[in-house]
């Protein structure tokens, strides 16, 4: 595991938007840009970016995963911090990559890219030193901490920011630490287990009647939101950065999107 304490903290950053935001969640990527800019960052979006390669990595197809990671490393050249609005993709960059490149000649070069990568909330709080967030967001939310942020400062960082927003109520729910059941290709190769895990999570979430389920990972929310909708009882989901962005807009007196 790469030492997370020594990552660069500069304000000229590279945005890794993630393949999910590229395909489905453009609003999350837009909110990320706005929030980073509010924090004084200059955001560079390398156009050649694709994916961190995690789907192939997780199903053990490491040659395919390395191919994608090598491409990603070349796209994110330089020494700027790389910011990702996903704990899972961030963990792939700074941890998964070092595993899949064990024994490979270019492992050090790949590790250098991982050693610059931050999950968004972690970067805002521990990279930029932001302790509270301006503005208001009137809602009751349940915060699902994505599993790939275990052992990283991300979960606490995001909660700290959310807790500082006026009008936002964060409600606890049962078995919070349990996985939502997504797990990438796991969700299609083990559909019964994955669905059962998701249903259990939804049961706990529904019991506390949140206005939104909030997370730092759209993959968990895609799974949970998709399950709820298929069951005919849709639940509203938000990435935390959308709340930060909307709170900012409120603060600046703009209408939200």
């Amino acid at each position: 595991m790469i030492n997370l304490a020594t990552r660069p903290k500069g304000k000229r950053v590279q945005l890794m938007a993630t393949c999910l935001c590229d395909a489905f969640y453009d609003d999350v990527a837009r909110a990320t840009v706005e929030v980073l800019e509010h924090a004084g960052c200059e955001v560079d979006f390398p156009e050649g970016q694709t994916c961190c390669g995690q789907p192939a990595f997780n199903c053990g197809q490491w040659p395919a995963a390395r191919k994608v990671m090598r491409h990603t490393a070349s796209v994110f050249a330089g020494d700027a911090p790389i910011i990702v609005p996903s704990g899972s993709c961030a963990a792939m960059m700074f941890h998964g990559s070092t595993l899949e490149f064990e024994g490979e000649k270019d492992r050090a070069a790949i590790a250098q890219v991982g050693a610059r990568t931050w999950e968004l909330g972690d970067y805002l709080v521990n990279g930029l030193g932001i302790k509270e967030w301006p503005g208001e967001f009137r809602a009751k939310i349940a915060f699902h901490r994505a599993c790939h942020t275990r052992g990283t400062p991300s979960g606490a960082a995001v909660l700290q920011l959310l807790q500082s927003i006026q009008g936002l109520e964060i409600v606890p729910f049962g078995e919070e630490e349990q996985c939502c059941g997504f797990g990438g290709t796991f969700s299609v190769s083990f559909p019964n287990v994955s669905t059962a895990m998701g249903d259990l999570k939804l049961e706990h979430l529904r019991a506390v009647h949140p206005d939104y389920i909030v997370s730092g990972d759209m993959s968990c929310l895609m799974h949970l939101g998709g399950l709820a909708e298929r069951e005919g009882q849709p639940l509203k989901t938000l990435h935390f950065v959308q709340i930060l962005r909307d709170a900012l807009h409120q603060h600046h007196g703009q209408a939200t999107h």
Partner: protein, 468 residues
Amino acid sequence: MAKQLIDTYVAELPPTVQKAVHQSTAATTEKRYQLLGDDYADSDGLRKLAGAIRQHTLEYLDTYLAQAEESLTARGAKVHYAVTAEDACQAVTGILQAAGITKVVKSKSMVTEEIHLNDYLANQGIESIESDLGEYIVQIDGDHPSHIVRPIIHKTRGDIARSFEREGLGDYNDDPETITRRARKFMRGKYLEAGAGITGANFVTADTGRLVLVTNEGNSRFCLAPAKVHIALVGIEKVVPSDADLSLLLNLLGRSATGQQLTVYTEFINGPRRADRPSGPEQMHVIFVDNRRTEVLASDCKEILRCIRCGACLNVCPVYRQASGHAYRSVYPGPVGAVLSPLLAGDKFKELADLPKASSLCGACNEVCPVDIPIPDLLLRLRNRAHQEHVPSPGTPPMAGFALLGSHPLIWRSAMTFGAAKDYLPLDRLPVPYLGAWLKTRTLPKWRGGKFRSWMKSRHGRNGGGGK
């Protein structure tokens, strides 16, 4: 589409079993969490320290094992080495036959499950009775343990009452106290008849040759009290450097396994009966069992040998909670089993290569493991190994197309734009099995590929390139 065995098993498992497993594992997980938090300011630091001690022992296992042999011998125990499961079973039979023993009692031990000792002894005409209540029930039912600490987590009180009735231990009664009392009465007779007690060991210390056994029922003490011969089967990785290491490991073991500060019985056995130790068995044999552990030690998954068999990773695992233990088709279920079982299977690796796949890689197992085993990393390495060895993996999409897209930005971008077509296609009727598996229980969001990229471009135009 071909199915993953564990996934099918989950779909067919009776909801009552699932509920029982979930409730009991969730409660133990909670107890563990509370107790560690209440008792230690930095329990995470302790886990890491314990992991480092265990890893160190593995790195120098040849030294510590030799030292343990020396210490045990000095205390009057006889040390044997068994390379295979068969060797281990033969060693046990050899000792019993030499002493003319035909009846033994056993206390709970995973390594004896692993080498199928009871079946072997039965074939040799030796009666072997499990003295741990759970293991005894497994034995009379001809069943297999479904959890490494609670072998009958998959059974209800009613199941047990029916088994007791069938075995002639009294009329149907599912009151736990009655069940326990009946088992105790039966067992006490067996203890007195047995010529030998067979145990495992939780730890063996190299510096003093102390063998440590923890139980909650005290059955291992009973096992050994009347027996003439004590045979301990010990995986070679159970050695720890010194008595001083036990305080940390025992404190973590009880808390992690059952949410107890210490198990009810902790026995330190330092050799057979002798002048300065007037009680206990006259002979003590320690059989160190390899059974492919040296292969694991030489692999890139050796960290799994740190395991102290606490079961915390089973209890916290969302897949184990849905699947229970038998789904893993091996002696060790759950996260630890998903790593260890395929490794111990040797040339049958392929038959169990699906186990490492049965995980969302959520990492909860690593977070609770008292010896900080990076289980998700090991699962991933085994997935990679299975792929290299061309083991088919049902339901897993091939990734060559993804790798092509992911390493060619132009193709990627056009795929992003044209992906919008998905919103106009009858997705659930497309012959793409992976998509079908998703859509059966979940919807997909609206395709918005390329939208962010054009927004970003338009801003660049507005801002004259670069950020703001």
